[in-house]
Every structure is written in C-alpha cells, then in structure tokens.
Symmetry: C2
C-alpha cells in the first residue's frame, strides 16, 4: 500500500527501535549493546548484533549527545594566518584516538570571533582549542558556560586560562646568543609579526631584551604579517629607513625569514650569511630545505599538541581542574644562515 518502495535508497535510516523490533527485544537492550561496560548477556548481544548487521544500523551520535550532554566534539579555532597544517592534522589524529571529533573554525578577520563563538555554543562542543586571539570577555564566557578552553601557542599572562606554549623568550635568547656569539654582528634588525599578535610581541621583546643585555644598541624594527611576502616588504622598508642592510635580521617567524633571505639574495644581491645573517622561529618544514637551511627555534609540535589535547580532555572529564599553563622549550637549530656560527 505504501507508495515508498521498500528498498528505496532514500528510506529512513533504521533506529534502535527498528533493531529492537527485528530482534524481538526492547529498545533499551539495543542501546545497552552499544554502551561499553553495560550489563548485557552474551546471548542478548549476539542476537542484537545480528539484527544490527542485517538492518545496517548505526547509532545516532546526535541523539546520544542530546541525552548524555556529551557531543564528543571539540572545536578547534585557528586564525588563518598563522596556522601550520601539521598542527591541525596532529590535533585531529590525537583527538581521534580518544574518540573525539574536531569541528573546525577558521577566522579570516578578528571581527569574526564573536560570530564564531556563537556557533561554538550552539554546537554543544565539549571543549575548545584556540589557536587564535580571544578578548578577555570572550574568555570569560567560556568560564560562565563551563566549557574547557585551552590556548595553543598563546598565553594570557594575567588571565587564569589553560595554555600550551613554546617558550618564546627563551627561544629568542638562544637565537640572539647564537648571533652574538662571535661579535661579528654590530647592527640588528627585528621584523615583528602583526601588532595584535601576543606571540610576536613576546618574541621581539625577548630578542630586544637579550640584545640590550649584551650591550647592542643598533636595533631597527619593522613589522610584517607573518607571510613570506611581508618579510620581503619589511626588509625593503627597513633598508630604506636605515640606508643600508643590517648585519643580522631576527624574524618573528620562519616564513618571514625565508622572505627576507630571498629578498637579500635575489633582489639585493647580498649573501646570506656572508653579508647578512638571518634567523626565524617555528621550525617549519621549508626552513629545513637546502635552499634555506635556516637558523631557527624548532617548536616541539608533537609534545605541544599532545599536551594540549590531554589537558583539554582532562578538563572535560573533570571540570574542577584549575587552569594550567604549560611551556615547552624550543630547540635551537643552527642551520647555515648565521655568520660565524
């Protein structure tokens, strides 16, 4: 009588009720067969699973999430500019091991943040990893709503939030020590990232402080946006300002450092490190390539992602855990872009 073909491809997906009817048991029995550790006899489980296979049943994670108040999803918020693909796939893999799924949010403009957060609340995620800048009142909303939040590679000195970072200041000190080791560099330039980036601020300030400790006072500053081309532009601007290239350029990240290297070598006909030394920060893949072999600080990405994931999961399982900041030391990679190193 029905006008729907019994095996039409658009037929309704089977539910636990369908399975229960087919197996001649109650719906709750079916439910229990999918709950690890539930009290189900072997006979019951086999009977149910047989029907499950025959009907092609898959539990509905949405419905489950509604009643358990656990969606098993976490949001990962990344701002477009500074995102390394490795981190994202690393995060995704590690969450996946724990049966948790990643809902991805990318930010084009900082103004999107509140719109994004609205979405985050709606989707009932169990927790959030933020690799983007949030305002203090936005951070406060997480606390109000009881949603665990872990910052990745940025920390808020005066806010009680969890974060995983690489020690930016220590890293810059290592780089400056490498540069200053043999006294061949007199003038220094620093190319910062975007002015609203706390990480850039920490890195550049770390470098400046160490330089000043060592008695250097010829320091010029410029800023880019973390991209290759912005590194090149910043260098041009810097040289226009100074009238000559500095002895060493300290860049807030590797991308800009590689831009600087290419500008020096291919457009200004200067040798790296013969004429100018260059250092970066991050340890991205391309920095290892023979074309660059850049001196940089390698962030321990694996340890950092593992830490971020486990911190978040712990806080999802136990909401009484206080915020915690974990800082990892970066590893100096000397490369061959520093004169005399």
């Amino acid at each position: 009588m029905s006008d729907q073909a019994p095996d039409s491809p658009a037929r309704r997906k089977p539910t636990s009720y369908d399975v229960a009817r087919h197996a001649g048991v109650s719906q709750s029995a079916v439910s229990r067969c999918f709950k690890p550790g539930a009290s189900v006899s072997k006979k019951m489980r086999e009977r149910v699973m047989k029907s499950v296979r025959e009907l092609g049943y898959t539990p509905n994670a949405i419905a489950r999430g509604l009643i358990t108040r656990r969606s098993n999803m976490v949001a990962v918020i990344v701002s477009n500019l500074h995102f390394y693909p490795e981190i994202l796939s690393e995060l995704s893999a590690r969450f996946s091991e724990r049966g948790v799924h990643v809902l991805l949010f990318t930010l084009d403009h900082e103004s999107d943040v509140s719109r994004i957060l609205d979405q985050v609340w709606q989707y009932q995620v169990d927790g959030v990893i933020a690799a983007a800048h949030l305002a203090a009142e936005q951070v406060a909303q997480f606390q109000e709503r009881g949603i665990p939040l872990v910052f990745y590679n940025r920390s808020y000195r005066d806010l009680p939030v969890s974060s995983v970072c690489c020690d930016q200041v220590e890293g810059e000190h290592q780089l400056v020590n490498l540069l200053a080791g043999n006294g061949t560099h007199k003038s220094f330039a620093i190319i910062a990232g975007p002015s609203d980036s706390v990480v850039s601020m920490q890195r550049t300030q770390g470098a400046i402080d160490r330089l000043q400790e060592l008695g250097v006072d010829d320091i010029t500053e410029a800023a880019g946006d973390y991209s290759y081309s912005s590194g090149r532009r910043a260098l041009q601007q810097l040289i226009a300002e100074r009238g000559a290239a500095p002895d060493a350029v300290i860049c807030a990240n590797d991308m800009m450092a590689m831009g600087v290297m290419d500008e020096l070598r291919f457009h200004l006909e200067l040798d790296v490190p013969g004429d100018v030394s260059v250092v970066g920060f991050d340890g991205v893949r391309a920095a290892h390539w023979s074309s660059f072999d850049l001196a940089t600080i390698e962030q321990p990405v694996e340890s950092m992602t593992e830490a971020a994931v486990s911190m978040l999961m712990e806080r999802i399982d136990n909401d009484a855990l206080p915020p915690e900041k974990r800082t990892f030391s970066g590893v100096l990679r000397a490369g061959s872009t520093v004169r005399g190193a």
Copy 2:
C-alpha cells in the same frame, strides 16, 4: 533548599523552556523566534529576546538537528600527505558563509578509512567532501545512505560520483609543450607520486603521452610520495640508474619539484635551468618564492573549492540531482626553471 548555588558556574544551560517560563509564553513561541520566516509578532519577539538576553540562552544545534534531520555539518576527509592548508581554510570559510560547519577527519593510513566512515555515519553529517581515496564499495555506501559526496581533486572514471578536478592531462600537456618548445631537451625524467594515487597516475601518463606524441623516447621514471625529501631521493635514484642527469625533470607535484631543484643545485652542483629544467604541478605558495620560481600548473583553487562547496550544497538541498564531474583547466606558470622558455 537546593544545594546548588543559584549562580554556580556549572549550572545547567538555560533551555527554550526556561526562556518560555521566564517570558510567560509557550516553548514553541521561543522556538519560532529563532526560525527565520516564522510567524511571530513583533511584540512576542521582543519579549522573548529580552528573556533570551537575560538568561543567556543559546539554541541547541544538536537538539535541532535531531528533529530536522539536518545537522548543518559536513565532513571533510583529507589524507595527510597531499593536503594544502589553503584548501582547508578555503573550504571552511565557504561552508561557514552558508551556515554549515566542518567536521574534520584526517587519514594517516588508508586502512583508517572504514573506521572514519563509521564515525561519519554516526555524526549525521549532511554531506561529505573527500580529498582522499575511497574504495568503490565505500563510495556505494554513500549512495545507500543517501549522503551526498563530492570528491576533491580526484575522480573515478567509471563510477557515477560527483567530483571537482583540475585537468591533469591538459596541464601536463602544457608543461611538456613548454619544455619541448625549443628542442633543447632530449632526455626526460618523470617523478611520479605514490603508486596508489590516481592523480599522480593521470599526471605522469599525461606527460608521457604528450612526450611520445612529440617523438621523445628517452624517458626515465621514478616515484616519490609527494614530499620534498622524496623528490630528492627519487632524483638520486634516477641518476644512479641513468648514470647522468636528464635534461628535464617533470614532477607530479611542486613539493617534489622543489626537492629536485635543491638536490640539483646544492648537492649535485648543477644549474637550474642551465643544466636541467624542472617543472611541477599545483602552484603552491612556495613555488612562487624567488628561491624556486618554479614552472608549474596553477590549480584554480578558489574556483575549485567554490565549485565543490556549491555542488555539495545543491545535492544536500535536492537529493535527486545526479552526480556531476567538473573539471577546471590549470593555468601555466612559466617561472624560470625551464631552459629557453
């Protein structure tokens, strides 16, 4: 009497019932205030919204998805190796414009696929973008379940599935024409990607066919895994086999081409393009850098992602739409790695 502090941070999130009670209206009225185009009087909407603000209510997308059978989530499946960050953020942004969220799945090993698909079914996603290889029977499951699927940058010649591709064969023809244009190249090498990559197969076969059309018969082949270092290794192996460097190296993607360039220039002391010409495929950012300035085919990433997203959305809204394959032409970028070009 309650032992729960009234403003404890862990208090239950307000639901539409709480809002309704607070505003003195029915729960369905609250629901309608969040449904665009629903019949709600201005007075009612204001009254409800006032309570919404006062209680800090956010609709629960999970519960909504349960009844509407639309989760407004799509799964994006990427296999680790060949993924460009740009594509992912591009996809995420375009879906976001349409109010759709991205659930990210990354594949480490091909064996993960069926486990991943299981997760995909459970999460009731409205559709799937796959930038990974699926077996024919896995593709069939999508049809059975009525979940729209669009492949990104890989197509199945003999399967009725939707896909968005760059024309690999045409692109290779352009590259070979560029190389062969002035008759200075006699011997050619081809570095393919992994053997299970259909894209790599198409690209290398496209190049070989065109070379043979032009009467070239000195062609050596090797394979890498799409990575920079595998390009270098493949070149070494190739030279060991031939006894000398070929006149031109055609690489299945840009990463390997850059590896080849670096191996040639920095380890074999050969000039590019003076001694050896190199071409890639993809048009990744680094290919544009002055260090490489690689001859390659630029995939029209924006058009392709837009096409993938709109194809998927159309099929989510209308499940009667037949599969469609869309192929975009790549744009030749001459660069400066081809002798005499």
